[in-house]
């Protein structure tokens, strides 16, 4: 009996300790793509600064924008920047104060395919990719594909397009790229986290697209670079704006960001698909944290500012271990200045 009482006292003491650890809780929600690096960052930051506890829910970019606009979370995260309408809605709901975009890491989409008999990496021109996804290039031996793959024995088989069925930042990057390289895509389909696909079948998540491509002969799809790297999936090169065929890797993605950095707007809402630069991989993108400009709670404001500083310095060193591409130096410097705009 005594032991039970002792145990109970011990448990109570432990509970009290946990409760006494009243770290300031800062809630965020949004994009799923950067979730692995965010959860690592928030964890490391908490051990270094036990006073702050960041809690991040990876509910999707759309839900993240919605929740930060409605004020149910302290910050949001998105794979595609908020559009002007969304910014205006935010301002209307927050007495005219706005929301700031902070790029955190970079990602990229890669074309992956399954053609019986073809083992090497294929080269894709922007015209070929747009044609395939518009449903106009229908055979693998079409001159649009064969022209940039001399010596590869492409079959006369029907191309089966696989796209994402769930709304996702991956689709946003892909359709943003196609909108830039094809006017027809821009007017007919447009860019977004979900679009009205002209052709093909939908798979849920990167794994759904990958699964369909793997099991369907003559299929082509697109997945996140990280997913392709971690699962050893072969993928093709894409011709960039300088005319070079570039295979996506961490360096070529950072190069795309560096190419775009010179013309980086002050609000960081920039698309870096089809970016200039010899080595730039054209289907790359930033992912952003969405931070309200004005905080009622000074403690939360300081916590977030502190975290952003840390993320831009120490935080950037740990991203490549998780297959994300680092921010280029110019962007980091610019963001450090922008932190001062948070009030």
């Amino acid at each position: 009996m005594k032991r039970i009482v002792g145990l109970a006292v011990g448990v109570l003491a432990l509970c009290a300790l946990v409760l006494a650890d009243n770290a300031l809780l800062i809630n965020g929600a949004g994009a799923t793509f950067p979730y692995p690096i965010y959860s690592k960052w928030f964890d490391v930051y908490h051990t270094k600064n036990p006073n702050f506890q960041f809690n991040y829910q990876s509910v999707g970019s759309g839900a993240g924008i919605k929740q930060v606009t409605e004020g149910t979370v302290d910050f949001g995260a998105t794979d595609g920047p908020m559009n002007d309408d969304q910014l205006k809605t935010f301002q209307d709901k927050h007495n005219g104060t706005g929301i700031l975009h902070f790029p955190t890491v970079l990602g990229a989409d890669v074309p992956t395919y399954n053609i019986p008999g073809v083992t090497g990496a294929l080269n894709f021109t922007p015209e070929a990719l747009a044609g395939i996804f518009l449903g106009k290039v229908t055979k693998w031996n079409d001159p649009a594909i064969a022209g940039s793959n001399k010596g590869v024995n492409l079959p006369a088989a029907d191309i089966i397009v696989v796209h994402r069925s769930d709304g996702s930042g991956t689709t946003y990057i892909w359709t943003d790229y196609l909108s830039k390289v094809s006017d027809e895509w821009k007017t007919k389909v447009g860019k977004g986290t979900s679009v009205n696909w002209p052709s093909g079948i939908g798979g849920k998540g990167n794994e759904g697209v990958m699964g369909s491509v793997k099991t369907t002969p003559n299929a082509i799809g697109y997945v996140e670079l990280i997913y392709a790297v971690q699962n050893n999936i072969p993928y093709g090169s894409v011709r960039n704006s300088s005319g070079n065929f570039v295979k996506a890797d961490l360096a070529s993605v950072t190069a795309a960001a560096a190419g775009a950095a010179k013309e980086m707007p002050d609000d960081f809402r920039v698309s870096i698909t089809n970016a200039p630069g010899n080595k730039a991989y054209p289907i790359s993108s930033f992912t952003w944290l969405l931070i309200p400009q004005k905080f009622q709670d000074g403690g939360k404001r300081d916590a977030i500012k502190g975290f952003l500083q840390w993320m831009l310095n120490d935080g950037q060193n740990s991203v490549e271990a998780l297959s994300y591409a680092k921010l280029p130096k110019e962007v980091v410097e610019k963001e450090k200045k922008a932190i001062n705009n948070i009030q």
Binding site: G190, G208, T215, T216
Partner: protein, 328 residues
């Protein structure tokens, strides 16, 4: 005074003469009230559900009105939303599922209840219950890795070559599509049909069978002409339970249906279902009209389930009346 009033009011049954407090003390009244509350919550939850769906789908109702049900463009970029391909996909996959599952399920139930030795029947029942408890994502994986390749390499050639002139078997096959989704759904709902139908068949009184046998019928005649008709209502119930599951299934369907909002006559074509599109697009739905259109789809699914359930009830009433007429 109070007692007098009560006696006067409850002039009918004897138990009515007992005072309310007396009944309360005995526990009858408590039990009645508690169970009444439980029963009411079901109604309340349903009402709250419809209310929420209705209120949160006002925008598409204003913008598209009835056109929401009959147009087939689903374009989040241009803000055009039509529910028809999803309604079509939901109904076609459910219909395929029932076409496959009902004969198989009822046949298996008859074997288990009437023909198999009790030990075999109980063992098999254990496995069937196990199947009913498997999470739907597992069935989805089964679909992706087994049914989809099987569809492309075996079922499609077998049906397309001889019957390719029929619209429902025309066109190319990607492996995924209405038929694949229907078959995966069939696998998922068969355990429900077997389990419930077997219980119902087992509960048919023994004298029914004995009477039939005594009149000189064979084992199969007594089963098919006496036992099964006796259990018809219950078997119908099992089918409707299966239908409800098929209509609302999300995960397994989205993994094998192809997720393409198009209406195609061919069962091999990829399609989309209501539950699947909601699950796929809800988290990333930006813009009020888009989000509310998805909620409106939820309302449509609710209505569809409601209508089909209503039709099912009517069917039960009609067939049982017919059955009793024949029996009489």
């Amino acid at each position: 005074m109070a007692t007098t009033t009560t006696t006067l009011k409850g002039a009918g049954p004897v138990s009515g003469s007992r005072s309310f407090f007396l009944k309360l003390r005995d526990g009858d009244e408590i039990a009645r009230l508690v169970t009444l509350v439980f029963a009411t919550t079901v109604v309340l939850i349903t009402a709250a559900l419809v209310w929420e769906l209705w209120v949160n789908s006002a925008l598409p109702r204003q913008k598209f009105g009835f056109h929401f049900f009959v147009t087939s463009v689903w374009d989040p970029i241009m803000d055009q939303f039509g529910a028809l391909p999803f309604i079509y996909g939901t109904m076609v996959t459910s219909a395929v599922a029932l076409l496959v599952a009902v004969p198989l399920g009822i046949g298996a139930a008859i074997f288990l209840a009437e023909l198999a030795p009790p030990r075999v029947s109980d063992t098999l029942q254990f496995f069937i219950d196990l199947l009913a408890a498997v999470p739907s994502v597992i069935y989805g994986l089964l679909g992706v890795f087994i049914v989809v390749p099987l569809m492309r390499t075996v079922i499609y050639p077998a049906l397309n070559k001889p019957f390719g002139y029929l619209p429902i078997f025309k066109g190319p096959s990607y492996g995924v599509g209405f038929m694949t989704a229907g078959i995966v759904l069939a696998i998922m709902v068969i355990p429900y049909i077997i389990s419930v139908s077997r219980e119902v068949l087992l509960s048919v009184p023994r004298d029914q069978r004995e009477a039939a046998l005594a009149l000189g019928s064979t084992r199969w005649e007594s089963t098919w002409k006496v036992v099964v008709p006796f259990a018809k209502t219950g078997i119908m119930g099992s089918i409707f339970l299966a239908l409800a599951r098929a209509l609302g299934e999300t995960m397994a369907v989205t993994m094998v249906i192809g997720n393409t909002p198009k209406i195609a006559a061919s069962l091999f074509a990829p399609g989309y279902s209501i539950a699947a599109v909601i699950a796929n697009e809800f988290t990333e739905a930006t813009g009020d009209l888009y989000l509310q259109s998805l909620i409106a789809l939820g309302l449509v699914l609710f209505l569809l389930t409601f209508i089909l359930n209503g039709l099912a009830r009517i069917l039960i009433v009609l067939t049982t009346q017919k059955g009793s007429e024949v029996g009489g």
